[in-house]
Symmetry: C3
Subunit: 358 residues, 3 copies
């Protein structure tokens, strides 16, 4: 086991919900080079050895503190690029060039790390003693044959909860995303809105029956005219699921989960990098119709552009919030969903900092 | 009226003369897009509606704090680019998409703001209760048919008083501006210098009879040989007026305000952006002679280059001053004008911070 | 003599060994323009007048604090680029344009400064009263006809002692410099290592008899096969001397200082710019054989590339060390040399801060 005095105690002050799985990336990011990424304030190197072993280690050689992510992957582990210390997937140093004895304290912290449905999940505990009791969730739309998907990782210079706010209130589509998934602002403002909560999961459903489909929708699907459009947003602490789509007006029921039409399934992994910066891991899956070639790429491209608009807005918002410190803000009708998500995070963050070792 | 709890109290600590008009820009800067600019530490959005209404609002939506300058101008005001809140020129929110009731506290701070002779003037009071009792000054050379002018806004990474120092002591022309308006250094060092003061206005007059005209002058005017050259600098708290020029030697009197020759009228709006950064709004007007085409553009271009030289020097000076902290400096003969201007600013800044609500 | 109240007292807090010569640059850097460089936290302007007089002055005009390095060199000194004050090599102001009397306090601090063997040396004392009692060392390989050399100045965003660590433990060659002077890692790890110390000088000798020559060596010298390779590193407080090379296996003795073969003589001036940044002045000299044209340039080019690899590693190391604060690190076998050098620096830094005026 790793020596306790080698661990950073910095994480205790982080105002994040700890002791849970967070998204750290996508499977296709781990190839022949190590990947450096900071998660909840922890600088971590991720890698996969040639035989498929996954590892997430503290990104710091215990000798001279070079990032291990500047090293190279070997069959048995990761070798530091300065003086050649070799670490296995468990963080133990297994070779020190120039000496035969390897002290037991020659090791680095490791993190529980695995992949499921092409998503890389990392467990960040309050301390190394807080180990996972559950598994990260499945995500079927990365393997459902009816769907095709693509995605990316965006880096935000903004705290993660501003991204929650954005995803939990899609009324901004009519002002921020007019060219893609937005469309007429009044459509969004007249949406039938329902907010509900079940434990730490918050759901916002917005229904826009008989509305004009926005540009991305008409480009992707042969709608006949007006559509019955839906957006179902499901907040989880580590990620937000957005099911949106539309069907020809009157062709189905919003209550039928197998309804016809154009479906988009968005995964939004919102992982704090630090208190003021965030990793935003997103994929978008859609159900292309036979004969409709290139629709998936169109959906991915327009989604990528749409999410860059969000990034532009949210980073400007954050910059302005820092400028106008300690000021009250106004709550409006559409803030119901975002505010519930905020209360979940607040409760879990307090719980983390107050909790004793399990 | 705006709700007091919504105002920033930050400005009280700013060491600037408050309760007065400052230059915020030029009329031609307000077109179909809002303009963001920070004035004396206040982040403000400026705009003109299609019907000509001017407005200066706090640049922060009271809902989610996006800069309003990222929004769009409509007939009745400015609409936020995130969730569509619409503000009129008085800072009142007049539309909240998705809800019918608009709470009275849905508003942002406004600032007295108007244009005169193509100059945009803003009043920065200690608090919103400190409203203007006077008007901003006229500036005739922006509308005198005998003059043509042009100008720009430069941003300085330096405190505004270093620009005062520069303008109030033109002996630097011989070392900094050798290629344009400088000329022989000894001409400047032998100038007849007179410094006087009337309340908060400081005047520095430098006369250089029988001197060699500098490059910009000979390019702009058909001088016969040596010239009688003058520089009359008038410091006001918010701006500095520089009347410079030359006439053929012996062709007129420095006492005659309607004297012949080449005249340049410089407006220098020196407006603090923050304690360490400054907006420098300048125009240069000259009296072109019939048949002398392109002279105005030449004067503008060479002035623009000259003022970039000042910016280069002053920003380097500021960087060095930060490096060598808490050090005494040497006063020399030419510092008389700059030091008087500094004492005016010092007195008014103290007065501001000490004053009670009028 | 300079007036004491004009001196910065900042340097006392600097954790550097004071009262000694440090390398400030190379002779070829001083041409017709002044050179600005910060040494041990002191911002200094270096220049050479047309008649060859060298000077190192505080880089700050005592009038308005413009860097004097923005001024121009004249026959009698350096003239400030703002208001034209002229300083001689002793830091005395000898001309103030516009006034006849020059106050005695119109001066700036100067530093003992001279060149020897194309190296510029500056003396940084605890105070101006601490003047040099010795001379800077000679460096024969900059004038030995058997050698040719070249070099450069690299700027490091890292503290100087990390560069000492790097130079005093060349086992990193096998991991960092595989393409140039590294070669097989196991060669370095099996090197015969000897560390010794004489006062403030630490020596590390690494011998690799019967080893494969690395790429730069084979490109520079017609070795027949395996070589007897050596690295002799000599740490001095202000610089590190690295004598490395190789001879055909068995063709000579490591004990013979005039041994045959390929010799490289590296000078490494490691001068703190600040507590966290460093100037790295290096030259590499080699003994080209008759008929081997271009070898010197090849050695210089490959050395330049090699030292950029070190810079890349060390700056990344420093960035990571700042991220993982207050953490213990592991000592391994090869750290013997670096750790001795660190103890010398530690002892001399304490001595400096504790010492009274001599």
């Amino acid at each position: 086991m790793n020596a306790p005095e080698y661990f950073s105690h910095e994480e205790k002050a982080h105002p994040f919900p700890m002791n849970r799985w967070w998204i750290a990336g996508f499977s296709w990011e781990l190839k022949d080079q190590p990947l450096a990424r900071k998660i909840l304030g922890h600088a971590i190197v991720f890698f996969r050895t040639p035989n498929g072993q996954l590892a997430a280690l503290e990104d710091r050689c215990c000798h001279k503190e070079l990032p291990l992510s500047m090293g190279s992957i070997e069959n048995t582990g990761l070798r530091c690029g300065y003086h050649g210390l070799l670490y296995n997937h468990a963080g133990q140093c297994i070779e020190i060039p120039g000496q035969t004895v390897i002290p037991s304290k020659a090791c680095v912290r490791t993190y529980p790390f695995l992949e499921r449905d092409q998503i890389l999940w990392i467990w960040i505990g309050e301390s190394p003693a807080h180990q996972p009791l559950d598994e990260p969730p499945a995500y079927p739309f990365h393997r459902d044959p009816a769907f095709e998907f693509g995605g990316e990782c965006y880096h935000y210079d903004a705290p993660y909860q501003l991204i929650h706010d954005n995803l939990m209130d899609l009324s901004h589509l009519g002002y921020v995303h007019t060219k893609t998934i937005g469309g007429n602002p009044s459509v969004h403002m007249n949406a039938r809105l329902n907010v509900s909560q079940d434990g730490d999961v918050v759901r916002v459903v917005r229904l826009m029956p008989g509305s004009q489909p926005p540009p991305t929708y008409t480009a992707a699907w042969p709608f006949k005219g007006l559509v019955d459009r839906w957006q179902e947003v499901e907040f989880h602490v580590s990620h937000v699921l957005v099911w949106s789509g539309a069907m020809d007006e009157g062709s189905g029921s919003f209550d039928d989960s197998n309804r016809v039409g154009f479906h988009m399934r968005g995964l939004h992994g919102v992982t704090p990098e630090s208190e003021s910066t965030t990793h935003y891991f997103w994929t978008i899956a859609n159900n292309p119709q036979p004969g409709q070639s290139n629709v998936t790429q169109l959906v991915i491209d327009q989604t990528a552009a749409t999410f860059l608009e969000d990034k532009w807005v949210i980073e400007a918002q954050w910059k302005n919030q820092q400028q106008f410190q300690e000021r009250t803000t106004l709550n409006i009708h559409v803030d119901g969903g975002p505010n519930r998500a905020r209360r979940v995070i607040e409760r879990l963050s307090q719980k983390t900092t107050a909790s004793a070792l399990a």
